[in-house]
């Protein structure tokens, strides 16, 4: 499959003030090859693909595309050379239909009727059926990704770059995407694939280049090594898989019954009769594609959304009608998904951000006056224990990389030693080593007798740490089932919201 070299990158470097994003990076992609780009957060993967796509210009080094010098000044130049890219965040207009969105992304779109026909043809040809007339606002995340992919495919690219494409997909959708990508590769299109999910890379990719701190530290054939070996090359250290102590489960710590709340935001998802229980020492994993009510569920548990008193109960006592600080006093700590602006204030220092949610449980105020010494100590403890890479605790939260801030936020909540901890996407954007560490600390909390709720899109994560699994789909929660013995297919059906689940849930709630 890997014949001639399509793209070769030779000695490329790029610096930003204070950071060497890429340093003497060289690698090559063969025609028809699926090539993975691996690395921790901040290893320089994004900078590298942005240079290939013409969004960023390298300081030094050169690139060759099909034997000719290649230096795209802008994405349009990259596209006309046959390089296409699907970003992690979609650039689609919800109020326009599929064909219109595709046309907007093209440099010279054909007439609409012809385009619709081509969309239908291409999307079905690659096993990604799309109706060109549907509004994008009505599509699921997986279908939106198809729009982006089809938009690229219409321009018959020679090199197709995908940045973390599977983070929004259910397992079934991932399978479909992989079939499409394999078909493309078989037709001679090269694919540059960025992902954190090592098993996916092993299943899909022919070759991989591993970056660490802006440098290439190795290249390998993913099928020949284990996911663990790859992860260790990425971080340059040995990894330990989270150890699950065979914990004893205590009485029910958190009980939610009949939780129905309208979403506070216009594009949010309302919760519909959500109910579950978590025992002391138990980890409940709540899976589901983002936007199915995860934010609303977290807000209802943190106290940002208030409900009837007995809808949320801690140790049998209703707390649904009190705010976040009262709930913290009762032992509930939460970590929202959105780090900047929700879990942390972007322009405030880490010290101030430690105070933000830590003031109650860490007793950082006395008669309303802030104990800055105690706050400093707490912030330093979080930074040290969770290996948050920062110049100091006086640094503004927005100056930290996403993964580092995530470590800080999770550390802040975990170190408050909550009796009940609810986290939304705890390891989103965090590298493998830090993710393993965070999961271990969550398991440690459970072992210490806390009830843990992990809301995550990452099924592997849930399977790794959760005792029971429930799926959140369009604001409805399936009945939790033990994770042991659960197959990926069953999970996929639950995430897709198979109808039996709703009935079972209605029964359960009524009983």
């Amino acid at each position: 499959m890997t014949g001639d070299t399509l793209l070769s990158v030779e000695g490329i470097g790029k610096s930003y003030p204070g950071v060497r994003a890429n340093d003497d990076v060289s690698f090559r992609i063969g025609a028809g090859e699926v090539h993975a780009l691996l690395g921790e957060n901040g290893a320089g993967k994004s900078t590298l693909v942005k240079m290939i796509y013409g969004l960023v210009k390298p300081d030094v080094g050169r690139m060759m595309l099909r034997g000719k010098a290649y230096a795209p000044a802008e994405p349009r130049a990259a596209r006309s050379s046959g390089v296409a890219m699907v970003f992690q965040h979609f650039s689609l207009f919800e109020a326009l239909n599929v064909a219109e969105n595709v046309a907007l992304g093209m440099d010279n779109p054909p007439p609409m009727r012809e385009l619709s026909g081509r969309i239908r043809e291409v999307s079905e040809g690659y096993g990604l059926p799309l109706d060109p007339a549907r509004l994008v606002g009505d599509l699921s995340a997986g279908e939106r990704q198809r729009v982006e992919i089809v938009r690229c495919l219409l321009q018959s690219p020679k090199l197709f770059i995908m940045d973390e494409p599977t983070s929004v997909l259910t397992p079934q959708e991932v399978e479909i995407l992989f079939r499409t990508l394999r078909q493309l590769a078989a037709e001679g299109t090269s694919i540059l694939y960025i992902s954190h999910k090592l098993e996916e890379i092993r299943a899909l990719c022919d070759a991989a280049t591993i970056l660490r701190r802006g440098k290439v530290v190795g290249s390998l054939v993913p099928k020949d090594v284990s996911a663990r070996e790859m992860a260790e090359m990425m971080v340059g250290a040995t990894l330990n898989a989270p150890a699950r102590a065979a914990g004893k489960q205590g009485p029910v710590a958190l009980r939610v019954t009949g939780l129905s709340v309208p979403s506070p935001s216009a594009f949010g998802t309302s919760l519909k009769d959500v109910g579950f229980e978590v025992r002391q020492g138990e980890v409940l994993g709540i899976g589901g594609v983002a936007g199915n009510g995860q934010d609303e569920l977290l807000a209802a548990l943190s106290g940002e959304i208030r409900t009837g008193r007995d809808v949320v109960q801690v140790h049998g006592r209703g707390i649904g009608d009190v705010g976040p600080n009262e709930r913290r006093r009762d032992g509930i700590c939460t970590a929202p998904e959105e780090r900047l602006g929700h879990a942390a204030a972007p322009d405030m220092s880490l010290m101030e951000n430690a105070l933000l949610s830590g003031s109650v449980r860490k007793h950082l105020t006395k008669k309303g006056f802030i104990d800055w010494h105690g706050t400093r100590a707490f912030a330093e403890e979080v930074v040290k224990t969770f290996d948050v890479r920062t110049p100091g605790i006086g640094t503004a939260a927005r100056a930290l990389s996403g993964g580092n801030l995530q470590k800080f936020v999770l550390g802040r909540e975990i170190l408050q030693e909550p009796e009940i901890i609810i986290v939304n996407q705890p390891t989103w954007g965090v590298d493998a080593a830090a993710a393993a560490f965070i999961r271990q600390r969550l398991l440690d909390r459970a072992a210490a007798g806390a009830a843990v709720v992990v809301i995550s899109q990452d099924i592997d994560e849930i399977m790794e740490i959760a005792d029971r699994f429930a799926a959140l789909n369009e604001g409805r929660l399936s009945e939790p089932v033990p994770t042991q013995g659960l197959t990926i297919d069953q999970i996929g059906l639950m995430l897709g919201g198979a109808h039996g689940m709703h009935e079972a849930e209605a029964h359960h709630a009524g009983a």
Binding site: E326, P346, F369, A396
Partner: protein, 363 residues
Amino acid sequence: MLVLEKRPTPSKGWAWGTPFLAVALTMIAGGAMFALLGKDPVEAIRTIFWDPLFNAQFASYSRPQLLVKAAPLILIAIGLSLGFRAGIWNIGAEGQYIMGAVFGAAAGLALYPAETRWIFPLMIVAGAFGGFLWAMIPAILKTKFRTNEILVSLLLVYVAENILASMALGALRNPEGGGFPGSRNLSQWPAAANKELIAGTGLHWGVVAAVIAVIAAYVLLQRHILGFQIKLSGQAPRAARFAGVKPETLVVLCMGLSGALAGLAGVFEVAGPAGQISIDFNQGYGFTAIIVAFLGRLHPVGILLAGLLMALTYIGGELAQFMLGLPSAAIQAFQGMLLFFLLAVDVLSNYRIRLASFGREAR
């Protein structure tokens, strides 16, 4: 080509440096304007900034005026800055200032001509209450009906002005004033007078209150959880809710506090420098205080300095009108430039300017 590059962390140095740069730029642009008006720019700038303080002829009058004018500006601006930090925009401090004066004066005059030392404290409480009450209207409308506090508080200024006029002509009119509008002169009634505490300095109780407000606001913002919540709400409202801040409570608190402080400024003015309730009692302190609050970076110490600077441009401006025949509109334009440049150079604290050549990617 110049490009703006976002700083990873806001620059502390520029946050403090920009006000000085803004003052310097105002002097240059203002000087140019004065030159175009046919005046000597150096002399005009000197008359505005130097003469009120150090000219042997004028300083004895101007120096006390500095405190008299700065005190209400600082008092009001401190209150406004708390709300502004939380993203609550009280634009109607002028109205709250008027209502403070009316309430305070009315409370005192109700007891006329009693001579007890409790009258002045009572007036202060009544004045603060009046301002508080007037600020509660937009606050409650905002929390209950989600109205816009900017519009409501601003429009209530004009309502307050009409109440002031009606008081000056009706209920509070001096019965011994021969039918002229305006109340009895409070500053000549010892029990109610806001006296000059040290003769020849302009120091009155309003100045004392302003200094206390500066210190209290500083402590609140640096050391108290409430100050933290105020800052948090302004910077990241969602994070504030996550931190357990109740937005409604904060609106009521910030509006109430800024209203009460504006009311205090009003009562100190009516019992001291102004002396009486009259139709044209208010002179725009409530609006100028908005400039002072921003000029001082919404920081208590900054506001203290900005209030003094603003008072200086007022006094110096009057002097320049009187001495050089500069039109008052030119002085107002000069003060406007100050705010304009301040907001314009503000960009430096969050961005750095870099020289970039064409064709190179800019980030």
